[in-house]
Every structure is written in structure tokens, then in C-alpha cells.
């Protein structure tokens, strides 16, 4: 550690606690309390990274979350490594490892630096313009462009850390614990408001907590001492919760805010295990007080980006808070008084200031006189015109400004330095205010945007509201909070403030240069290498909207979102275009204010909780029997059950054959089940289904088709009449929730007069379907109490029964075309009844089958699957299901749409069967169907919706939709594939047992 740069005067640094860390593979030392930036500066290191486009050497520029340059890769392992971390925000701990980004082979010698020399041919929009043509070359360019795109490396393996989400409700949320935030917190909490105070820093008090100047006093005490007492006092208040290292990421409408709270990032890695790293706080506040402060503006001049050039306020903070001098030969360049505060801090510790360059002709403030008294040369009315030194600034040149500030006059003077502090005044941090929907106004005097219209119960105070001097901040905070919280007692009886600053400022957005603009590099956005020249080019090329200029030049699009340079970009645009600043507005400030980790965003919703799935009561049995699963909606459904060495095709063929030859068993528990009760239940079903329900006898089942009001098929399923006013409806697995929602919608909004109640009972029952010629024998064994004779228990009917005293419902319904029974039993008995069926079916080769076989079996019968054979453009008529559409009913949902001019067209796509010329050719689902391949462009008639090889028919079968297909029976069509054209014949969609002999066979 270079001793000459560390001054042991700071209360915030624990000098007894030495911390070692690694930066770019070299070990350094700092103290507990240091940030990575302050520790590096104490070691004399400014060069920490390379810029994005030109790979120019860049140093630490700021001391906070606005940092554009010092973004580093933190951690060297592949699980925790994090790119784009601001060195100014990382607290160092023993064993910290960090490295520079965007440089190769290293930050001192970076091959990409050649881009800097090539910069004359790399203007804004270079990539857009150059790589547009010839279009076919994009594939060749892409590899190289992608390689050079992006900053840092992302982690390669799972994050070992834990993240959480928390909800917080409070009366008052105060964002920012600077002096105004502290005052507001005390007033709110002491007046009975449940208050939450958050700050992104690890300490409270903002910049006032290290304001030790004799020139700023409150009640005759130095500001920092006064504030320290206040902080001590509020930390004891019960009504007040304080969260440090907590950054508000987003301020949404209705005072809903997201914050990221850092909990373990300051700890050595071995102390983090099992602890929550970050919390995403979801805050709902009745009132919000924004006290986010302001960000110092840089100044825009040629080569304003060299390592060693910092914001003047950052230099002050590094010396006052961390006891670190950023340089030994300092120069300050300013257009306002705040640089003199920095000067006094440096003078206090005997750190050399070579000169102050002030672009104002007249300076009249107590602190400027105090600085002059210390024999420091102040160049009044001068501007920096250039800087020198590749990896660290070593010299600047200055010239006198003309009266209008647009030209340079006189001799060029060169001055030596190793550190240049710049101050262009202050920009209120209005990001969160505008995110919440607030409208800004432009204040001409000092060229700042400040809050004007609040969209919710909120207020901005302090410098984010445009109050920059200590007395303004304190006095306005007191009066606004009193009014905002409607309180009398301010807690601050008398308050006397001394402030040595004068508000004068000479704002020049782009300082003049003695070179032509084409030869300058005056950076507006440091991270993205956008210069004033680029902005002017964009304007020359016709861009006018600030949003367009931003995207064309990439100004403000880095990880820092242009916190430093956006205002200058606006200023240069309005100066160049000759318009008024306020008229342009600003670019949109979008969340997050500072980047969020993915960990914080997902919280605990990782691994199996990322997208939770539903399991049937029989799930464990499926797993034990080697089922492969398919996702259907949120459900995991058994897909097929391969035996040793079987592939999917073989398993499905075996299952399908067994189901028709002897017996198959399917877990149908996922089907949606809606219990419908009420005196108008029958009338209700009449209105929601296309067919008639009034005459369905108790104990009978009926298949129903449900449409949308536009006449398109929405869902289908079997509904059973359990009693006079009681039905149970089944829906498709994926459609269950939406069907219930739709039915509730009609009941509550269109037909509130109907006496009908709906309950979802999907999860209450396990549903086991046993099918095949031996199904009756098997279920008779499982339910010996029930008479299964065809006379007593015909197809499409239901019986209540019991299995070992447990109530069950048995339906004789079929989705396979086989004789089949569906047992519904309380869910927790599902697995044991399934096992009973397996046991009873042992002698009949009962074969569990999954969804794939179910799909195959139903396709043999030509039964549709809603969502596979239909999309939202198929009417029942298109599906050749005219038989289910009641002609007699006056109305049902979708009826009127079935004879709109469009739905009665005869050339609509209609469902047909397709048989391939070669019975072994299995079509691809989704394949196009055409008639004529000679005429180009080839007309597409439709597509294949379902396709299988049927082991029962020993041939390939498919369903598809074809324009005018109904009238094309027997016609030859073509399915053009990549390697060959497959000839098909249009067929009846029912391939097997059209007469229903299997279904009604006496067993």
C-alpha cells in the first residue's frame, strides 16, 4: 500500500483490520470499510478497465452506483462469478478476487486497443451501415461481431447462493438516507408513521456525513457532527426500520416498489454458506418520500476519459470518507462552487493542488476566497482543451474561453497533474420519480430537470428535487414534509444553517476545442464510447427524437444507463438542433435503477420450484414402473411405459395392441372435473354446450362440445347427470381452469338469474380408466358389489358404488372405442385402487398405457383432441361433427357465429382422414398438404394434425385439415417432405370400427 496516498483520518475505515484481495491476479491490501475502488486508489491504481468500443484505458470515475468505467468481473470461480460489478460499490473482504473486463490479453496491453486508432472509420451506426450487405454475408460477420459484443463473463454453473422475496407494507417509505432523508425519517417516525428508510450505501448520512467543512454548519455544529447525532437518535426509534445496502430498483404505480437488499456481499466467501445473499423486497407504501440526491455532472471536452480523471465530488469522498488521495498533483476543473469544497478537503490534509480551472469569469463565494488564500492558482474563464497520458493522465492543456463560451482565445497553457477532478454541476436523480409516472419540468437557471407532477401519494425532497445548497435542502425538507405528512410537530424547533456555497454556474454542454470536431474525442457516454461527435453525426443524418439518437449512438444504453452523460447528450442535441432543452424531454428511465441479479429476481423459485408441476395421486406408481412423462399444462402425465430396451415407438405399439386385444389401463386423473349444482343446471348446460341436455336421464353420461362465442371449438368432455340438479363435467386436462373461468364469467355476468353453482373438483378424485375386451372382468373383481351386466350398466351411464367401503363413481364411457370403465375415487385412494386393478388384470395382461397410446387409440376412432386437431379457427362443422350441434335449441354459446358469412364458406379447412399410399409411411404432424406441386407458388391446402402407425390396423393413419376436405373423399393429395413427396388419399376420419361393434360387444 502506498502510504503517501492513505491518510489515517477517516472514521469509516478500520485501520486495525487489514484486508488482502486480488485484482488482476496481483495481491493488494486495503482496510475494512474500503470499497474495491477506494482500496485500488490507495494502491495508486486508476486503470481498471477498457471501454466497450475503442478499448480505451479507463479508470475509476466516481464513488457510487453511477460508475460507468470501473465495472469489473467479481469472483474467479464459475458459479459465483458476476460481470459488470461496479468497483465503487463492492466492499472489500478477505480473499476478494476481481479482474478487469473487455480486454485481452490484459488491461495494460489490450489488442482491442487498435479500435481506438481505427476510430475515424468506426462512427455511430458503423455496424448498422457496414454489415447490412450483402445480406448473405451476415452469417460470416455474425461470429466475429458476437465475439466482440457484451461485457464480462456470465457464470457457467448453478449459483450456490440463496435469494429471497419479501413483502413489506409501510406508511412511509423514504428512499435515500442523506441529510434530507434522515430529517424526513425522524419527522415521520416520531409522528406515528410506520416508516421504512432505505439507502443503497452501507452507511447512513449520504455526502453530508463526511462534510467536515467549517463553511457548512447546522446550529453552529459541523454538518457531519450534527447529522451523526441525528442518526444516533433515529436508530432508536421503534417506528422506523432502516435498511442499508438496499437499492430501490423500480418505482411502479400505486406506490409499489422493488428493492434489492444485499446481505452477504461484504462477507468473506466462507462465511456466506447457508445465508441469504440478497432479498428482493416488494414494498407497498402508503406514502413515498424520494430523497435520492443528485449525481455530479462531468464536463465534456477532448479526451475527458483518461484514467485519473474523476468527478470532483468523488475525489472529496475518497479523501473524506476513506482517507484516500486520488493523486499527488491534483487539478480541479469546474463550472460551479462545489469543486472548491473538494479543494478545501485536499488542502486540509496537505494534498497538493496544482491549479483550479474555472470556466466562470466571476467567482464570488466564501469558500473560493478561502481556497485562494491558500495560494492556489485559479484560472478564471478558462477551459480544459485536451489531456495527455495514455494509461494515466499526466498533463492538461487549457485555454481562455470567449465571452459566449463557444470559442477559445489566447495562448494554450500546459499544466502537469496526475489527477483531474471535474465538476459540471449537479443532476437531480429523478430516475425513480419518472419511473413512477412523474412528469418533469426543466429549470432554465441551472439547466436541470426537476419533479413537477406527482402521479401518486409521493414527494421528492433534497437535491433530487433541485435543492442544492445545505440551507435550501434543510429548510425545504422541513416545510415539505410537514405539509406532505400533515403534521405540526417538525421535531426541529430552530435550525440555523451556514453554507459557504454560491449557486452561480456557467453551463456549457460541450466545451469548445481548438481542433475540428471530427478530430476530437469528447465522451458523453463513457461506457459505450459515445462522443459528442457521434451525437452531432446522428443529427446530421436526420435523427431528431432523443429516443432515436439514443439508440443510434448507444448513448445511455450501458449498464450505468447514462447516469453521468444523458443530460449532456440532451444539451448537445438541443444546442445543435437549435431547440429548447425542455422541449425534448428526457429519454425514458426504465427499471432497474441499478442492475439486478437473476438470483434476486427469481428468489426461491429455482430448481423444482421454478415452474411447479402437478402430480396425480398415482404418480409414484408411474415412476416405479419406468414411465416417461409428458408435460400437459402444469401436469406431469405418464407418456409411455418402456420395457427393457424398448424405444418409444415399440412401447406405444405394444401398449396400443394390448388395449384392444385384452386390457389397458390409463391414469386419467388430470382431466378437469367441475361439479355443477343448482335448479338451473340443465338449462345452464343447454346454453354452454352445442347439444341438448334437458332430457339426459339421471345416471346417464353425454359427450359435449363447447364453443367460443365466435363459433370455434373451445373444449370437450363427458358430463354425467348425478341427480336432478347435479352434474359432473369433465374438461380437457389443459383447459380445465379456463373452462371454469369461462363458465363463471357467463354465470356471473350474462345469466346471473340462473341458480347454478360451480366447483372445481379436479384434485379431489383419482380417475382410472380400464378398457379393452377384458375390462369388464377386471373391474368386476375390483368392485364386486356392482352389477356390471350390460342391461344394468350400459354404455354412457354411471353407477355409485363402493370399494372396501370407500365411495366411488364408475362411468362406462370410452375414449378408445373399446368397452371401457372409468373409476373415480377420492384422490388419496387412487394409487391403491390402481394397484387393485393391476392385480385383478394380471391374468389378462392388463397393460398400463400413457398419453401417446391414448392419442393413437382415439385417432384410430377419429376422435378429436381439442388443441391438437383444432386451433381457434375450427367450428364443429369444420370437424364434421354436425351431429352434435343442436338444430332445435334457440341459442347456445357460439350458435349465431356458425352461420356467419365466413363460417359457412365451403372452402374452409375441414377435418379429414389421410391414408398414405405406402402403409408404412408415417406422416409428420404439422406437414403441409398440397394438391399440385407443379404450379408455383404451390397452394397450401392444409396440414397434418395427428399421425400414427396403427398396430391394430397395421398401417399408417393420420388426421389433417384440408380446404374443402369434406368433399374430397377418395381424392389423392401430396405431402411434400424434404426428401420425397408422399402420396395420400383423403379418407373418413374414423379408421376403425365405425359401427361401434367393439364398444357394444357383449362381454
Amino acid at each position: 500500500m502506498s502510504n503517501s496516498l492513505r491518510f489515517k483520518t477517516s472514521k469509516f475505515i478500520d485501520e486495525t483490520y487489514r484486508v488482502s484481495f486480488k485484482f488482476n491476479n496481483k495481491t493488494y491490501f486495503g482496510f475494512k470499510g474500503d470499497t474495491l475502488a477506494s482500496a485500488l486508489l490507495a494502491n495508486g491504481i486508476h486503470l481498471v478497465g477498457r471501454s466497450f468500443k475503442y478499448h480505451r484505458p479507463r479508470g475509476i470515475m466516481t464513488s457510487g452506483s453511477e460508475e460507468p468505467n470501473a465495472i469489473i468481473q467479481l469472483h474467479d470461480n464459475s458459479s459465483r462469478t458476476e460481470p459488470n460489478v461496479r468497483a465503487t460499490e463492492v466492499e472489500i473482504y478477505e480473499g476478494l478476487v476481481a479482474s478487469s473486463q473487455n480486454c485481452w490479453p490484459n488491461v495494460n496491453f489490450d489488442i482491442g486497443g487498435i479500435n481506438n486508432l481505427l476510430s475515424p472509420i468506426l462512427p455511430a451506426g458503423f455496424y448498422y451501415k457496414t454489415f447490412m450487405w450483402p445480406a448473405s454475408f451476415w452469417e460470416k460477420y455474425e461470429y466475429f461481431i458476437r465475439k466482440s459484443a457484451g461485457l464480462g463473463k456470465s457464470p457457467k454453473v448453478a449459483d450456490p447462493d440463496i435469494y429471497e422475496h419479501n413483502y413489506i407494507h409501510c406508511d412511509v417509505l423514504i428512499i435515500g438516507a442523506g441529510i434530507s432523508g434522515i430529517i424526513a425519517a425522524k419527522m415521520a417516525a416520531k409522528n406515528g408513521f410506520k416508516t421504512l428508510l432505505v439507502d443503497e450505501k452501507s452507511y447512513l448520512g449520504g455526502s453530508s456525513i463526511y462534510d467536515n467543512s467549517e463553511f457548512s454548519k447546522i446550529n453552529n455544529q459541523i454538518t457531519s457532527s450534527w447529522l451523526e447525532k441525528e442518526i444516533n437518535e433515529i436508530s432508536k426509534l421503534e417506528n422506523l426500520e432502516i435498511k442499508t445496502t438496499t437499492s430501490i430498483a423500480a418505482f411502479h404505480g400505486y406506490n409499489f416498489l422493488l428493492a434489492r437488499e444485499n446481505l452477504t456481499d461484504h462477507l468473506p466467501i466462507n462465511q456466506r454458506n447457508g445465508k441469504v445473499r440478497q432479498k428482493l423486497l416488494k414494498i407497498r407504501a402508503k406514502k413515498v418520500i424520494t430523497a435520492t440526491g443528485s449525481i455530479e455532472r462531468p464536463l465534456i471536452f477532448d479526451n475527458n476519459d483518461r484514467p485519473g480523471i474523476l468527478l470532483s465530488s468523488a475525489i472529496k469522498k475518497y479523501i473524506d470518507l476513506y482517507g484516500v488521495a486520488c493523486g499527488e498533483n491534483n487539478i480541479l476543473f469546474t463550472n460551479n462552487d462545489t469543486a472548491y469544497e473538494t479543494a478545501l478537503s485536499l488542502i486540509q490534509r496537505g494534498i497538493k493542488i496544482n491549479a483550479i480551472i474555472d470556466n466562470r469569469e466571476q467567482i464570488d463565494s466564501k469558500i473560493s476566497y478561502e481556497v485562494e488564500k491558500n495560494n492556489i492558482k485559479i484560472y478564471k474563464g478558462y477551459s480544459v482543451v485536451d489531456t495527455y497520458g495514455y494509461k494515466r493522465i499526466n498533463k492538461i492543456s487549457i485555454m481562455k474561453l470567449s465571452k459566449d463560451g463557444q470559442k477559445l482565445i489566447g495562448e494554450k497553457i500546459k499544466l502537469n497533474c496526475d489527477c483531474l477532478g471535474v465538476s459540471g454541476g449537479w443532476t437531480p436523480a429523478v430516475h425513480l420519480f419518472t419511473q413512477s409516472g412523474g412528469k418533469l419540468k426543466f429549470r432554465e437557471e441551472d439547466q436541470v430537470f426537476i419533479p413537477e407532477v406527482y402521479p401518486s401519494d409521493q414527494i421528492s425532497i433534497g437535491s433530487c428535487n433541485g435543492d442544492f445548497s445545505l440551507d435550501e435542502v434543510v429548510k425545504n425538507t422541513l416545510s415539505s414534509i410537514k405539509k406532505f405528512l400533515n403534521i405540526d410537530n417538525s421535531e426541529f424547533k430552530t435550525i440555523e444553517i451556514i453554507s459557504g456555497l454560491n449557486q452561480s454556474k456557467r453551463n456549457i454542454w460541450l466545451l469548445p476545442s481548438d481542433k475540428s470536431i471530427g478530430k476530437t474525442k469528447s465522451f458523453v457516454d463513457y461506457q459505450n464510447d459515445a462522443t459528442s461527435k457521434d451525437i452531432k453525426l446522428a443529427l446530421r443524418e436526420g435523427f431528431r427524437s432523443i429516443e432515436h439518437v439514443k439508440r443510434y449512438t448507444t448513448t445511455g444504453m450501458g449498464t450505468d444507463q447514462g447516469k453521468l452523460g444523458n443530460m449532456h447528450a440532451l444539451g448537445i442535441i438541443s444546442e445543435t438542433a437549435g431547440t429548447k432543452m425542455g422541449e425534448h424531454g428526457t429519454t425514458t428511465f426504465r427499471p432497474p435503477y441499478t442492475p439486478l441479479t437473476f438470483g434476486a429476481i427469481v428468489g426461491r423459485n429455482v430448481g423444482e420450484f421454478f415452474d411447479i408441476f402437478r402430480r396425480t395421486p398415482i404418480h409414484d406408481w408411474h415412476i416405479a414402473n419406468n414411465a416417461k412423462f409428458e408435460n400437459v399444462g402444469q401436469w406431469k402425465r405418464a407418456w409411455y411405459y418402456p420395457k427393457k430396451n424398448e424405444n418409444m415407438h415399440q412401447a406405444v405399439q405394444r401398449e396400443s395392441k394390448a388395449a384392444r386385444d385384452s386390457a389397458g389401463i390409463l391414469d386419467a386423473s388430470t382431466l378437469g372435473k367441475i361439479d355443477i349444482q343448482g335448479t338451473d343446471a340443465s338449462e345452464f348446460l343447454n346454453r354452454v354446450y352445442t347439444n341438448a341436455w334437458s332430457k339426459l336421464a339421471i345416471g346417464k353420461c353425454r359427450y359435449g362440445l363447447m364453443l367460443n362465442e365466435d363459433g370455434m371449438v373451445y373444449d370437450d368432455g363427458v358430463t354425467t347427470r348425478l341427480g336432478e340438479n347435479h352434474y359432473i363435467m369433465t374438461t380437457t386436462t389443459g383447459g380445465a381452469a379456463n373452462v371454469l373461468g369461462k363458465l363463471e364469467d357467463y354465470l356471473q355476468t350474462e345469466w346471473p338469474e340462473l341458480d347454478v353453482y360451480l366447483s372445481s373438483v379436479t384434485d379431489h378424485y383419482a380417475t382410472i380408466s380400464v378398457c379393452g375386451p377384458n375390462s369388464k372382468k377386471i373391474v368386476s373383481k375390483v368392485i364386486p358389489d356392482l352389477n356390471f351386466s350390460d342391461e344394468k350398466f350400459p354404455h354412457m351411464s354411471f353407477k355409485d358404488s363402493k370399494i372396501n367401503n370407500i365411495k366411488c363413481r364408475v362411468m362406462r364411457i370410452s375414449f378408445t372405442g373399446e368397452h371401457s370403465y372409468e373409476i373415480n375415487i377420492q384422490a388419496n385412494y387412487g394409487k391403491s385402487v390402481w394397484e387393485k386393478c393391476m392385480e385383478a388384470g394380471k391374468d389378462f395382461n392388463i397393460t398400463p398405457y400413457g398419453t401417446e397410446t391414448m392419442h393413437l387409440l382415439r385417432a384410430e376412432k377419429g376422435f378429436i383432441i381439442v388443441g391438437q386437431d383444432t386451433d381457434a379457427t375450427m367450428t364443429p362443422i369444420d370437424l364434421q361433427m354436425d351431429w352434435i350441434v343442436s338444430k332445435k335449441k334457440y341459442d347456445f354459446i357460439g350458435k349465431r357465429s356458425l352461420y356467419r358469412s365466413d363460417t359457412i364458406r365451403e372452402d374452409r379447412k375441414q377435418l379429414v382422414g389421410l391414408l398414405t399410399e405406402n402403409p408404412d409411411d408415417v406422416l409428420e404432424e404439422g406437414a403441409q398438404i398440397v394438391a399440385d406441386i407443379k404450379k408455383t407458388p404451390i397452394e397450401m391446402l392444409g396440414h397434418v394434425t395427428s399421425s400414427y402407425y396403427s398396430p391394430n390396423l397395421k398401417k399408417s393413419i393420420a388426421l389433417g385439415v384440408v380446404k374443402g376436405g369434406k368433399k374430397m373423399l377418395g381424392q389423392k393429395l401430396i405431402i411434400p417432405m424434404e426428401n420425397k413427396n408422399i402420396n395420400v388419399t383423403v379418407a373418413d376420419p374414423v379408421f376403425l370400427d365405425k359401427e361401434g361393434e367393439r364398444l357394444n360387444a357383449k362381454l
Partner: protein, 91 residues
């Protein structure tokens, strides 16, 4: 994110609700009497106003009740909520 005052449950997060489009569009009592154009008007045509709009909302992850809301779409201010079948309390 809105804070919605469900007429049945009180204030709840927006994430508990589902938006259901424009309100006060009554399903015709005799659809078969309507011309194609009249039916299309009911079926497809929505106003999508910038400004004060009457909307249907459903407390889908709560009481599952549908209700109406008056919302200014230009600034997302909710002017009123009221039950189905009730007259809007504001114009």
C-alpha cells in the same frame, strides 16, 4: 402494479386479478335475429379508449367474482369499482 379494491374482498395486489376487457357489452338476448354485421359488432368491436374506460375484472386468485372498474388508461388511475349489474358510480 395496481392496488385493486375488490368489491367483495377489499384491497388486493393486481397479480390476484385478471382483466376481462370492456364492460357493459350485453350479450344479445336473441342472437338469431341479428344480421351478420350486428352480431359482428357485439362479437368483435371494442373501443380501447385512451382515457376513462369501463372494464371488467375478475378476482381470479381470490373470490373468483367478476366486477367492473372505471380506469383512466392514460395514467392507470382507478376511479371506481362496482359490482356486476350496478350502474357506474362515475361518468
Amino acid at each position: 402494479m395496481f392496488l385493486i379494491n375488490c368489491p367483495f374482498c377489499g384491497e388486493r395486489e393486481q397479480s390476484e386479478f385478471k382483466a376481462g376487457g370492456e364492460a357493459h357489452i350485453v350479450r344479445p338476448k336473441q342472437p338469431t335475429e341479428l344480421s351478420d354485421d350486428e352480431w359482428a359488432e357485439y362479437l368483435f368491436m371494442r373501443k380501447n379508449i385512451k382515457g376513462v374506460q369501463f372494464e371488467r375484472w375478475n378476482h381470479i386468485h381470490g373470490c373468483r367474482k367478476w366486477f367492473n372498474m372505471v380506469r383512466d388508461t392514460s395514467n392507470d388511475q382507478i376511479k371506481a369499482v362496482y359490482k356486476m349489474g350496478e350502474k357506474p358510480p362515475v361518468k
